[in-house]
Amino acid sequence: MRPTKEQSLEVYRRMRRIRTFEERVGELFVRQQTAGSMLHLSIAEEAAAVGVTYPMREGDSFTTHHRGHGIFLARGADPKRMMAEIAGKADGYCRGKGGSMHIADRTLGHLGANAIVGGGIPAVVGAGLSYKVLAKPNVSIAFFGDGAMQQGVLYESMNLAALWRLPVVFVCVNNQWGMGTRIDRAAANTQFHERARTFGLEGHVVDGADVFAVIDIAERLVQGARDGRAAYLSVECYRYYGHARMDKSPYRTPEEEAEGRKQDPIQRAITRLREKDGATTGEFEAIDAAIAQEMDEAVEFAINAAPPPVTDLFRDVYDDHEPAPEPLRKRLERILTTNLTATN
């Protein structure tokens, strides 16, 4: 890709939105305004999100792992509704039922973030199958972390996608750490793209600190997938923080962290924009300020939003037209009162 300055600034802007969003989510957590105890940040993984989604179009779909805020933002998510979902509010994307690990939005093609490692991967095979059967020109992309590389369902999915020639791309956001286990303690061969090739997929690896390199390879693989050639891509990056917000990663050495944190895709983009496109501090500051305001508003929105009504507990277990499960208290009252007095 030979991007114009405007395109490059837009790429920078998308990455900065993710970074600022994740920082604000972190604040939300510290202010005890998040609903869940589970919060996984994708700081320093912005290039994977922005780069791979760059060639995606309307109608394309994707699933993510539980560290997927950035990917969804890059596909156009509204930070207000995301933040509200993370805070467990009724205005969230999933009415406050899913939270950070289960954000989804059908209209934007987000078939769901998943908290089972590898659990959301076969869904893109099914989505790809739909596009093939229904003759739609769309592609479906599975995003997952390096932890999923050791899950069997990934390989079942890779095999089916290659076998059935589906418009599917598998993207491993390889941040080197699956919780407290570095990839070299999880796999003897960490060249994951080689595995994909043995299934008959196009397998590639790209530097996740270079967003423009990610865009280049993603454009090629996504187009190939649209033509029925399923593909795999490892985006190599480094997990800036611990596994979850409270994790200080004592299992990593300070030296390793210092080295890893040098691979910051945003800093790389800034340097490139300054050197190649002559972007000025003022231009970055203007973008950053607008984003800061947007994200502050999102935080306020989430904090002020109403929690879901208690009756929502029983909603959406089944389709709206079906009877909802009977609340336990109601059931007990029925059993202990009505049922014991048989009178007219």
């Binding site: 014991l340 048989a342 009178t343 007219n344």
Partner: protein
């Protein structure tokens, strides 16, 4: 016809005396061959004593609770003339002799200790519920279930035999009308349905009273204590009219349910001067279809279970009936008369009364209430009534006023006025 003395039969070789547990036929009551007349407790078990021929109870010589020696006279009965074929049998057994009603087999019941008050009683949940509802003491009952467990059937049998239904029910089904309220805003006459009784109007009556009306619920002929065998429904209607009060202001709102609705139409047609308005709840006589199996079932119901099963058909939703109320209903009903009325009402699922011509003649304001889940009649029949008759539909079965009083009664109390 001949009057006879009934003596206490010997119901076992060792039996010398017995205690009258309960009389099931009261003086004045008719009985058919095979019906239980009384229950007697001997040294071992309770025994039901059936009638060996048709007749009428004249007088009890021994009362419930009395201990009587075998062959001692316990009642005077009148037996009816018998046909030639059966008179021989009657002669052979001029008085009621020992015939022990078949009892369910009780394994080694003699070894079972009778339950002691205060001790743990082995009783099924159904027995406990039934006992609670009927006000029966479980320790008094000898269980016929496994290991002497008291069953629901044991309790019901015990209750029907030894315990009178609660006082209120007896009083209310003794043929006297039930009354509520004072006639500040007017007077309402309530006529119940087939096999029903005035107590079905209780909620309605109370509501009307709150609204400033006096409400009087009559027992229809053939449904309670005053024996009444009218040859036709018309004459039955005349009978009802004769029982109506003559209020000073002369007029009343007439409300009839089901069969009572048919009576109401007949009354309004014959005596229009006394009727202020006519309200028909799921009335008979305006269509052709009727659920024959319900009619037959009601008429032939002999047990609480069968009666309950039939009554469930009247409502749009499952409802439970108090066992005591069912027992009272069974006790007070007159099966023959019900059967006769049932035959006048319907034949093979077709209503035999068509009162639409009468209804067309009536000029007082009239309305019809129906439940759309009515399983006894077709509510759609009401659609072909004259247009000036208002139709109100509810989400109920055959008893709108009883099933959903909150929705129905406020509408009911808004009586139409003559324009």
């Amino acid at each position: 016809m001949s009057e006879k003395k009934l003596t206490l039969p010997r119901m076992g070789e060792t039996m010398n005396e017995g205690t009258i547990v309960a009389w099931l036929k009261q003086p004045g009551e008719h009985f058919r061959r095979g019906e239980t007349l009384l229950e007697v407790e001997s040294d071992k078990t309770n025994v039901e004593i059936p009638a060996l021929e048709d007749g009428e109870m004249v007088l009890h010589l021994a009362l419930a609770g009395e201990k009587v020696a075998v062959d001692y006279p316990i009642a005077v009965v009148q037996t009816f003339e018998l046909s030639a074929s059966s008179s021989k049998a009657a002669e052979a057994q001029p008085t009621l002799k020992t015939q022990v009603a078949p009892e369910p087999e009780i394994p080694s019941s003699e070894d079972l200790p009778l339950p002691v008050a205060g001790a743990k009683i082995r009783a099924s949940p159904a027995a406990r519920r039934t006992a609670r509802e009927m006000g029966v003491n479980l320790p008094e009952i000898k269980g016929t279930g496994p290991r002497g467990r008291v069953t629901g059937t044991d309790v019901r049998r015990h209750a029907t035999l030894s315990v009178k239904p609660p006082r209120s029910i007896v009083a209310e089904s003794s043929g006297q009308p039930l009354r509520w309220g004072t006639p500040q805003r007017g007077r309402c006459i309530l006529l119940h349905g087939f096999a029903g009784d005035p107590t079905t109007w209780r909620r309605t009556g109370e509501f009307l009273a709150e609204q400033g009306f006096e409400a009087i619920a009559f027992e229809l002929p053939g449904h309670g204590s005053p024996p009444m065998m009218g040859p036709s429904l018309d004459e039955l209607a005349a009978e009802v009219i004769s029982r109506l009060p003559s209020p000073p202001n002369g007029k009343f709102h007439l409300i009839g349910h089901s069969l009572g609705g048919a009576f109401a139409i007949l009354i309004a047609a014959r005596d229009p001067g006394r009727v202020a308005s006519l309200t028909l709840l799921a009335p008979i006589g305006i269509g052709t279809y009727i659920n024959q199996s319900f009619l037959d079932g009601i008429v032939s119901a002999r047990t609480i279970e069968t009666l309950e099963r039939e009554l469930r058909k009247t409502t749009g939703r499952p409802l439970s009936y108090a066992t005591s109320a069912l027992a009272a209903m069974l006790e007070s009903r007159r099966a023959d008369e019900l059967k006769a009325i049932g035959q006048m009402m319907a034949l093979d699922g077709v209503q035999q009364l068509f009162l639409v011509p009468e209804l067309e003649k009536i000029t007082v304001p009239a309305r019809v209430f129906f439940g759309r889940q009515d399983k006894i009649l077709n509510w759609q029949d009401a659609l072909s009534l004259p247009g000036r008759i208002a139709l109100h539909l509810f989400d109920t079965g055959h008893m709108p006023h009883w099933e959903d009083p909150t929705a129905v009664l406020p509408v009911l109390a808004g009586f139409p006025v003559c324009s």
